[in-house]
Amino acid sequence: MTGFTSFVKKETLHILRDPRTMLIALLMPVVQILLFGFAISTEVNNINVAVVVPHWSESVRQSVEKLSSNPYITYQGAIEQGEIDQYMRSGKCDAVVVFSNDFDKVLSEWKQNGTGENAMQFVMDASNTNLAQLGSGYLTNILAVDQMSSDMMPEIHMLFNPQMKSSFNFVPGIMGMIFILICGILTSVSIVREKETGTMDVLLVSPVRPLRIILAKMIPYFALSCINLTSILLLAHYVLEVPMSGNLGAIIVISLVYIALALALGLLVSTIAKKQVVALLISAAIMLMPIVFLSGIIFPVENMPDVIKPISAIIPARWYIDAMRKLMIQGIGFVGVLKDFIILCVMTIAIIGIALKNFKDKI
């Protein structure tokens, strides 16, 4: 065991001797969680709308008034029919409401007996698909539904997150992303660097068993990541006001498993790559896109087509984020995330196993 502890000590010294990298690794997650936690939101809360009015009447004026006073809408003024394309191309407006010539007449018919056609057209800039979809919903509510008697419109309640504060939703995602990428970058160079400098041979001839070498490389980074986990959880709860109403113990245990997994993944990359450049490109550049796109951070897993779901299932971040959402936001207990937990444990063991096999093959 003394061989093992001296290895841990050596690896710890590597980190401490490079205070700049250590500082970056400790500060970056803090900045990222704050910046992204507050800034990112998938919700659409501002749509630039212009109107085309062939004939101004009192009811048109009222409708335009409704538009411009709506907090979700930035009214961009009245334009000509022929200008719509130009306005949209240059990004000055996202939607244009074109009122019909006989808007008054159709409206009164609609109010009387619920019939009436083509009172207006909503021209949406659908190059931004989501904005167009949500925007047409907003416009429908403001300009059409409200014209109906209110009893036809159900009232809508948002559960768990009544202010629609998206930071709640993003914090688990950002955590999942930060841990796997930062831990990966940290450990991915550790073995390759020894290969490049030639100290690898010293490790290989030592009597310390490969599994212990791998673990010794993980332990100091694991400690470093525990500091990160603490600061992130504190910030999430006290600054970003994430409720964390689930089981805090479960949050911590699952996070620790996930961190171990991420460190092991970095080591796995390190055993495969022959050069530091390659190791870093794999752990930062190549992993980045699948993690952001396939783990449900921004794009919900349940909306993915069935062909893609299996790909998403092999990405560890997906299970971690799922568990953290349930524990931190929905307040579901440990039992509700048991499946995620088991999957993460199995993945961790598998990754360490493969890394070990690769490492041994080098001998």
Binding site: M28, L143, E155, L186, L281, A285, L288, L294
Partner: protein, 365 residues
């Protein structure tokens, strides 16, 4: 002299077993897989109905939900708590409550109100799902009303989705993926390359020659500029061949914007490598900014939904301008004139970044 240095960079690039694959295979893989993944069109919203009315009208609403292509009827229950426990488990996204005596009160003209509760942990699915459900119900109710009058009911308003009539989410994603690929390839590669020369000590051998820092860096950049142009060309080809999506506007304007963008980002990569002493530091530095670029420049989430202070930050992010150019020209056919301010901003960044790259390179300590 520059020619000799460029030749060196090309030889080193080609001889690396990994880099050429990264530039060619990686974009193809990404463009083949990720556009399918990212659909934000919310379908299969699971609805649980708490039907306390058991009337003709409540049955009609339930039928309509069942028939909708966006909504999926998960269950009809008798109490809110039963539906709620399904929502807790994640099986249900939206709950509709139909109060007792709803139909009766409707006939009196003062109906009780229907209520929708949406799981908003996934804000988008929650709000869009609730929206769909509300629309479905108001259509149903309007139909119910008009059944009494014989006229055929038409649409009060119409929606025209310009530039993307079928609301294909891919069309939105493809330019975004293309931009992320360019950031990754033209940002990470130069950053790593220069530091690796530092670590290997070869940069010192160059520093002691009359080669100016300008030509040394330029030779590297030219190779990565070319790599960036290869990446965008591959991505555009895949978009066209696989997805049938081609630029509505001028390709020349797209390439002009792309080239400015490549120069900007690679200059940024050079700054990262100049201020780092190890590759790991350079990667951390780049990783931080690549994340900021990806998440805050309007690529995936709208800038205008950010808080005001964050919106000001986005003006300092070069991708913000290229995202506008790319989307507008590629999807909407915007012209160079439409995009002139974005081009101006991007040009300023190109100059600033590359001056920064030149300043931070020290040939002599």
């Amino acid at each position: 002299m520059l020619k000799v240095l460029i030749k060196k960079e090309i030889l080193q690039f080609r001889r690396n077993s990994f880099l050429p694959k990264l530039v060619v295979v990686f974009p193809i893989m990404i463009m083949l897989v990720l556009p399918w993944v990212t659909t934000m069109d919310v379908r299969h919203v699971n609805v649980s109905v708490v039907d306390s009315d058991h009337s003709q009208i409540s049955n009609r609403i339930i039928d309509k939900i069942n028939a909708s292509e966006y909504l999926t009827l998960h269950s009809v229950t008798s109490t809110f708590d039963l539906s709620m426990s399904e929502l807790d488990k994640g099986n249900v996204d939206v709950i509709l409550e139909i109060p007792q005596d709803y139909e009766k009160t409707m006939l009196t003209g003062h109906p009780k109100r229907l209520s929708i509760s949406a799981n908003s942990v996934n804000s988008n699915k929650g709000s869009i799902g609730a929206q769909y459900l509300a629309q479905t119900i108001s259509h149903t109710l309007a139909e119910q009303r008009s059944m009494t009058s014989p006229e055929k009911r038409g649409d009060f308003f119409t929606i025209q989705n310009r530039y993307n009539p079928t609301l294909e989410y891919r069309n939105f994603m493809i330019p975004a993926l293309l931009i992320i690929l360019m950031i990754i390839i033209t940002g990470f590669l130069p950053a790593l390359n220069l530091v690796s020369e530092k670590e290997a000590g070869t940069i010192e051998q160059i520093n002691v020659t009359p080669v100016s820092r300008f030509s040394f860096t330029l030779a590297k950049l030219i190779v990565y500029w070319a790599a960036g142009l290869v990446v965008i060309t591959i991505a555009l080809l895949v978009a066209w061949i696989v997805y049938g999506l081609s630029a509505v506007g001028s390709l020349a304007v797209i390439y002009a914007g792309a080239f400015l963008f490549i120069i900007t980002i690679s200059g940024f990569g050079i700054i990262a490598s100049n201020i780092s002493s190890t590759m790991q530091q350079a990667i951390f530095f780049m990783f931080f900014f690549v994340m900021v670029f990806m998440l805050m420049s309007g690529l995936l989430t709208p800038i205008e939904s950010m808080p005001e202070w964050a919106q000001y930050i986005t003006y300092a992010l070069p991708p913000r301008y290229f995202v506008s150019i790319m989307r507008s020209v590629f999807l909407k056919g915007a012209t160079f004139y439409d995009m002139r301010y974005n081009f101006l901003a991007l040009t300023i960044f190109t100059i600033v970044m590359n001056i920064g790259a030149a300043i931070t390179y020290k040939k002599r300590s």
